[in-house]
Symmetry: C2
DNA sequence: CATATATATTGAAGGTTGTCAATATACAGC
DNA sequence: GCTGTATATTGACAACCTTCAATATATATG
C-alpha cells in the first residue's frame, strides 16, 4: 500500500461528478430488480409477441405488479407497447438498451 | 410486429431463472447509488491512499454516511480496508469488480 | 492515565420501493 | 347498450434505504 505522511490528501476530486453519478445510478436502479430483469429477458427472447398475461403467467407476481414494472421500464424508454385489440404487446428498445449498456460499461472501465 | 392468433403464448420460460435474476439485481443494486459510485471512482483513482476523511471531504455526505456506504461495498467484496495508525485506507478489489462487470455484461449481451 | 483524532456503530426519522386487492379504463362481440 | 376480457391505475401497507446526531471503539501522544 502507498506511503503517506498523514491524513488527508491535499485535494481529491471525483472524475465522476454528482450529476453523472446520479445518471448512472438511475440507469442501474432501473435494472436492479429481478422481475424487471426477467421481463427484459423475456421480451428479448420473444420480441414483440409478449402480452401482459404472458408475463404474469411466467413470473411470480400478480398482474398489477407486472404492469407496475412495465411502466417503470416504459418510462425509462427501454420498452415500448403496441396495442392490438384487447392485448398489448411489449418489445424491447434495443438501441435504448444499447445506450444504457454503453454508459454502464464506460463506468466499469473507469473502475477496472 | 409479429402476428399472433390470440393470447397467450403456449409457454414462456425465462432464460434467466429467479436465482440468477436475484444475483444480478443484487450486483446492480450495490452499484446503484451515486455516493457509492463516486467512492469507487475515487478509490480507483487514488488506489490505496484514500482514508474516510478524504472521502468525507470530497463527497456531500457526513462521516457516518460515508462509513455506511463503505460497509456495503466492503461486504460486497468490492473494496478492502487497511488500518495504518489512526487512519484506515481503502482500496478497490479490481478482480471482484471485474467479476461483477462480467456478470452484468453477460446479462446485457442477452438483452441486446 | 488523560486527551485528541479517525472511524464504526446505533438508533431514529423520513423517504422510497414493492406488492396486491380493488377499481377503472379500453376494447371486442353480441 | 350490455357482457366479458386485458391492462392500467389507485390506494394502502409493509419492507427497505438513506441520512445523520449521538455514541462507542481504536489508536496515538503527552
Amino acid at each position: 500500500m502507498a506511503e503517506r505522511a498523514g491524513c488527508c490528501l491535499p485535494k481529491l476530486a471525483p472524475r465522476l461528478d454528482a450529476a453523472e453519478a446520479r445518471r448512472i445510478s438511475n440507469d442501474l436502479a432501473i435494472l436492479a430488480h429481478p422481475i424487471r430483469l426477467q421481463i427484459l429477458d423475456l421480451l428479448a427472447q420473444y420480441q414483440g409477441q409478449v402480452c401482459v398475461c404472458d408475463l404474469e403467467a411466467a413470473l411470480p407476481v400478480k398482474q398489477p405488479t407486472v404492469s407496475h414494472h412495465l411502466k417503470i421500464l416504459r418510462e425509462a424508454g427501454l420498452i415500448t407497447a403496441e396495442r392490438q385489440g384487447l392485448w398489448i404487446y411489449y418489445s424491447i428498445c434495443c438501441d435504448a438498451v444499447q445506450t444504457m449498456r454503453e454508459r454502464v460499461m464506460a463506468q466499469f472501465a473507469f473502475l477496472g
